[in-house]
Symmetry: C2
Subunit: 142 residues, 2 copies
């Protein structure tokens, strides 16, 4: 079996998915990277920017940009922390109010994309990929 093929499929899937999310959120003026941040803040609550980076496994610079944009749109507020270096990111009331609509659109889209895929298969693949990722990251620190 070709490892090339496998990796190519993963890339293609990733690109197709972001494309779908972007299309879905276009009516709300949001992009996929912004949605990822909004989702984490809604489900985990306010947190420092660095925690968002770690959670989403994204470097600091792209996170700065995404958050500044969300702030410009009034969906997020950067509150200085006790440690004056950190900025704690909060969802605004405006974001909390609009969130259910966003979530509904994304969930509907997600379900549509995988509706033909049995639940156990999703579970199996999710566990396998997560496991691979862990092993790769582990390798890199050896």
């Amino acid at each position: 079996m070709e490892t090339h093929e496998l990796f190519h499929t993963i890339h293609q899937l990733s690109r197709t998915l972001t494309k779908q999310v972007n299309e879905t959120l276009h009516p709300f003026g949001l992009y996929s990277a912004q949605w990822a941040v909004l989702f984490v803040l809604k489900t985990k609550g306010a947190m420092p920017q660095s925690a968002l980076c770690e959670y989403l496994a994204v470097e600091a610079p792209p996170m700065t940009r995404t958050i500044q944009r969300l702030a410009r749109q009034g969906y997020v507020q950067q509150v200085p922390g006790e440690d004056k270096r950190v900025k704690v990111i909060h969802l605004t009331d405006k974001a909390h109010e609009a969130y259910p609509e966003w979530e509904k659109a994304v969930l509907t889209m997600n379900d549509r994309l995988l509706e033909q895929v049995p639940w156990e298969q999703r579970m199996l693949v999710q566990m396998a990929l997560h496991d691979w990722l862990g092993k790769m990251k582990g390798d890199l620190h050896e």
Copy 2:
């Protein structure tokens, strides 16, 4: 189970993989997008730019850029086709000569990343993901 998690894992894997390929090819002055093109040309032979796009599932503009860069580096030649609109992309002798080294580096890296993953599991996941992709693409054209 959260679809969010699954999609997030796929994105993260995709990013980790391109990062690895970029690191691996850095000594040769090549980037992951270029490698994808070189690999297809080596295994499938010369083909029009549009065929490369279709094969790699990438839009025309990024392909133009990647190919122009490869041409600048002398790894690829754009030969006008019978149809004067098409440009047939050929590997140069320089590319053929260097290819084995590139391939060895990438294959070694690929194997290292998945060495702990049993062969059948790779196969299963590859088939599942490919199947999903097909279903998604199918959906979009309904």
